[in-house]
Symmetry: C2
């Protein structure tokens, strides 16, 4: 039995320059201190009502991430910028900022290496391998796609960067925008993993008089629990329907939150496509086939959810054009699907809270429930073999990212 | 082995009076003949761009439904009005129309009985038991909740009606509106099944510059495949978070499309609630517990989806307040969850189409793919026993609805 290696493929930071930029702004997204207690708040959405979420060093200080990793026995983290990314900037600013962010992310990984070298915790992984990062592309309205391709070239040549995170807006028209074709082509050529992550959710829905989330006080629960995975499902589906994976079969897309709402809706999607020949005829395969081409974090918080996602990924070949394979026996899909799933924490979001709901910010000794839940969810999937679980804990990520 | 009985709990009609009403209207929702080929189209949403879907006798003629049932060996159907329901009417009209619709639905079932008596097909179920219906409540802005309670009393006393279908808007503020408390109480008291069905979807999202569905031509795929189950998930979650199932533990809610996006997101929901003590403290149980109190149609089009839903329903007791049960062994949750699932077709939607995408309306001899897919999905769940499958095919519905 090989030793467990724990890789966190879904863990966020803000770079210090990005924090300064957000502090300097007077409209959202911005970091402000207008809260009653004077703490810094990050307000992301234009219509943010709560004033935003409390932020502190855990969002940008590398020492905090290193402490979190050692405390939870995380061997390797692949950090990524948290939202907002760069689509609130004008095109030249977005290009400049992407360049700066990628340099800062590389620097962040170097600083982490020094810290790990001094205090390795109980990890058997060498210091220089323990902190990697997704870079960022200048995806904002008006940016020339050649600038985005250039950012991918910069990422590919940056030793600690092994992909790029992106939201669902693209250049303003979403990810099914034909203008993004050179981006998919370049990412596939370089083997860079693109990490698709929700950003804006779907809550501000004009078709419901009281909005999709209504008027009852449910805190951030509905936009976070449902809005984010809805957005991810919509963006991923639009990529599939646009034929992106037909034209770029080697594109490596990692989908946040275990694919959001998409896996459980994929046969419904296939049925809707089958009843719309205009869409159906332009795709090479049944939509369910493409789910087997994607990668998924295991940030779903429950074993039944993870098992479902693995089964749905693993059955993909049944839906390849021309496939005649019958239903496989019980459990046959699991082993195949599970190879595309990988542990994540979503740190520093979902921090420990006190009884009254305030966030514990002096958290250097806390074990985070969001981490233990996602670890236990993997351990508890009844149908997964021990080696499948070791894959999800870290080996699948080691292989995908060449760690 | 008991004989298979096939019950369709998700099958729609329009009453002829409702069709006349929709034909008389000049704004959406309405039925019009402005299409190039002069066929009747039903345009439901205010912003309907495609002109609406082609409608014909299969939507209102009882002979068509009887033929469909006999052709697909469906023993019993519980028909329900399709959207739009009554929320486009003013309050007095909605009350009157609900009364008329419920009378017409009862009449529809009586007519079906006569037809079955004459031509029973191969069903062994007696004619008078084969057509049942969900009634409709006057859920529209400004309606006095006592009128809604009255409609439930009328439904309860109507021999062929065994529940009521409803969308997600309630009286305009959604289903978590405290004004609806007497409705939940009365439905629970009568044991009437409320069938929660999406209506408006979530597509018209102001937070995405190109809308959630973008600008590429994907026909109706995105709003149907994703928007509908998003809406269902949001509405069901809002009911849970509002404590409706804490106050009305005997409320019987049947959720369309296998719960839409909710089952796969339920552990994420639980995690978000756990991190928001304000919401968490007012609920009696972990949100996942409530999923075990609901009923689900099996309209998910794939065996892996159905298995996932059953597992997620079946684990609910693990999340009861104070529960200390460890993880059950592999498959232990399936048998419990599957008892709350029941076959449906969504007829007359998803009709057979020709190669060019036109709907086959002279379909009296066609086998519908949407039916065979949902039947095969049940048959193909590897983890389900034969008796569990017979339950989903019909016996669960017989028991729930007292058929």
């Amino acid at each position: 039995m090989s030793k467990r290696i724990l890789v966190d493929c879904h863990t966020h930071i803000y770079t210090k320059r990005l924090v300064s930029l957000l502090r300097s702004r007077t409209v959202n997204p911005r970091i402000h201190t207008n809260s009653p207690d004077g703490s810094e708040k990050l307000a992301i959405l234009p219509q943010e009502v709560s004033g935003g979420r409390t932020v502190g060093p855990q969002y940008w200080d590398v020492r905090n991430k290193v402490s979190f990793m050692n405390r939870h026995s995380i061997d390797i983290s692949i950090v990524s910028l948290a939202n907002p990314w760069l689509d609130f900037l004008d095109a030249p600013q977005a290009v400049t900022s992407a360049h700066e962010c990628n340099a800062d992310l590389e620097q962040y990984c170097c600083e982490a290496t020094e810290l790990f070298a001094r205090a390795p915790g109980d990890s058997h992984v060498e210091a220089a391998r323990r902190m990697k990062a997704f870079g960022i592309m200048p995806l904002a309205e008006g940016v020339d796609p050649t600038e985005i391709v250039k950012s991918l070239e910069a990422i590919a040549s940056s030793p600690s960067l092994c992909g790029a995170i992106l939201g669902s807006r693209g250049l303003g028209k979403g990810l099914d925008d034909p203008a993004l074709e050179p981006v998919w082509a370049k990412a596939a050529e370089f083997g860079l993993v693109l990490f698709l992550h929700p950003h804006y959710g779907v809550g501000a829905d004009a078709s419901q008089p009281a909005g999709l989330w209504g008027t009852q006080d449910n805190g951030h629960v509905l936009p976070l629990a449902l809005g984010f995975p809805f957005e991810t499902a919509a963006a991923t589906t639009r990529l599939i329907l646009a034929g992106v994976f037909d034209r770029h079969p080697h594109l490596r897309l990692l989908v946040a939150h275990s694919g959001g709402a998409l896996p459980i809706l994929s046969s419904r999607l296939a049925s809707c496509v089958a009843h719309d020949p205009h869409v159906c005829n332009r795709l090479h395969h049944d939509p369910r086939f493409y789910l087997g081409k994607l990668y998924y974090d295991a940030v779903a918080y429950g074993p039944e959810e993870l098992e479902a996602v693995a089964n749905i990924i693993g059955r993909a070949d049944r839906y390849k054009a021309g496939a005649t394979a019958p239903m496989a026996a019980k459990g046959a899909y699991t082993d195949k699907g599970v190879q595309r799933m990988m542990f994540g924490t979503d740190h520093p979001f979902f921090p420990p809270t006190r009884e009254d709901g305030t966030v514990i910010t002096d958290d250097q000794t806390e074990t985070w429930r969001s981490v233990t839940e996602n670890l236990e969810a993997i351990s508890d999937v009844p149908a997964w073999s021990q080696s499948a679980k070791l894959g999800v804990f870290g080996q699948n990520a080691v292989k995908l990212f060449g760690l």
